[in-house]
Symmetry: C2
Subunit: 198 residues, 2 copies
C-alpha cells in the first residue's frame, strides 16, 4: 500500500471536520495550498494553539483558558440559580436576553442513546456535584425543546429531584409575536395546558 502524500494526508485530516466529505476536503486542500497559504498557516497554528490553551471550566464545564471561566468568576451572580444548557451558544442566547443572573452548567451535548451518547458524555456526575454545592436552590433546565433536548431535561430532572433539588424548565408556549393561525397545534395545546392566571 502506497503511503499518503502530505497533500493526501491533509485532505484526509480535513474530513474530520463535521459536514466535510471527501470531495469538499480535497477542494479545501487545493484551495489552501494554491490560493491561500496564509490562511492554511493561520488555521494550522490556531488549531494547535487552541488545543493547548482551551479546556473545560472546572465549575460550569464551558470552554475557557482559565481554571474557572469569566462567568463563574463573576462575583455579581446569583449563586442560588443554576441554568443547564446544551452548548456555549445556548448560554450566549440566554445571556443576551438579560433575564437570568444566576450561573450556568454547560452539558456540551445532549443525551442521544441511538448515537451512543449517554449520561457520562453530558458530564452528569460533574453537574450533580455542581448542583449539590449547598448554594444552588433551583436548577433551570434550558435544553432544547426537540426530542433529544426534552429527554435530556427529563433525565436530569429526575436525577436532581432525587437529590432534593428544585428543578424548573423554561416555559413552552406561543412565541412572542406568534399568530395562532401559523403556530403548530402542539405548541397551542401546550400553551393551553400551561395557561396562566392574569
Amino acid at each position: 500500500m502506497k503511503s499518503l502524500s502530505s497533500l493526501e494526508q491533509l485532505a484526509e485530516a480535513l474530513r474530520r471536520l463535521p459536514g466535510v466529505g471527501p470531495k469538499s476536503a480535497l477542494r479545501m486542500t487545493y484551495h489552501l495550498l494554491q490560493h491561500d497559504r496564509e490562511g492554511a498557516e493561520q488555521i494550522g497554528k490556531a488549531m494547535l494553539n487552541a488545543l493547548n490553551m482551551v479546556h473545560n471550566c472546572q465549575s460550569c464545564n464551558t470552554f475557557t483558558e482559565n481554571e474557572i471561566c469569566d462567568t463563574c468568576a463573576d462575583t455579581g451572580r446569583d449563586l442560588s440559580l443554576l441554568c443547564v444548557v446544551e452548548s456555549p451558544s445556548d448560554q450566549l442566547m440566554i445571556e443576551q436576553t438579560m433575564t437570568f443572573k444566576g450561573l450556568y452548567f454547560v452539558l456540551m451535548g445532549r443525551l442521544s442513546p441511538l448515537d451512543g451518547i449517554g449520561p457520562q458524555d453530558i458530564h452528569l456526575e460533574k453537574l450533580i456535584q455542581r448542583a449539590t454545592d449547598g448554594a444552588v436552590k433551583e436548577v433551570v433546565l434550558a435544553t432544547n425543546f426537540n426530542n433529544e433536548g426534552e429527554a435530556t431535561a427529563h433525565y436530569i430532572s429526575e436525577t436532581l429531584k432525587a437529590r432534593g433539588l428544585n428543578v424548573s424548565r423554561l416555559a413552552r408556549g406561543v412565541p412572542v409575536g406568534g399568530e395562532l393561525e401559523y403556530v403548530d397545534p402542539g405548541t397551542i395545546a401546550r400553551a393551553m395546558l400551561d395557561r396562566r392566571v392574569t
Copy 2:
C-alpha cells in the same frame, strides 16, 4: 477592543476554508475541542506539514513534494503531446480514461476577469515556456466546457498559436449513452456542426 480568545481565533481561522461561514466555523470549533481533539491535532499538524512539503511542479505546475512530479518524471510519456487542464482532479479524470500518454500542464485555475483572475493567475508565462520547449508538437486544451473554461481555452489557444504551436481542444458532442431526447439543444447543435465522416 477585546482580544480574541484562542477558541475565537480558531473559529475565525476556519472561516478561511471555502464554503465555511461563521456559524459552521463555530460548530466545527466546538466539535473539535469537545469531541475530537485527536482530529484537531491531526488537522493542525497535517496543515503545517503540507505547507512545508507541498509546492508546484517546476515543469507542469501540479502539486508535488519533489522538484518534478511523478508524471513529468515518467520516461514512458510522449513528450510531443501536452494536455492543459484546470486542476489536478481534471488531470486524474483524463488519466483514468487511459486515452492520453503525453504530459500535462495544470493551470490551477481558469480565467475569470469578473473575479479578478487574469493570465498571470493561471501561470500563462510558465505554460508558454513549457509548451515552447522544442519537444511539444501539439497542445490539447482540456479546460472545462463552461463559459470560463471555454474563454480560458480560447485565450490560451490564441496565445500559443501565435507562437506557431498546434493547438487542439477535446471534442464536444453527445455524451456516450446519451439519448437525444434528453440532451440539451446546444449540445446537439454542436454535435451536428462537428459531425464526422464514418
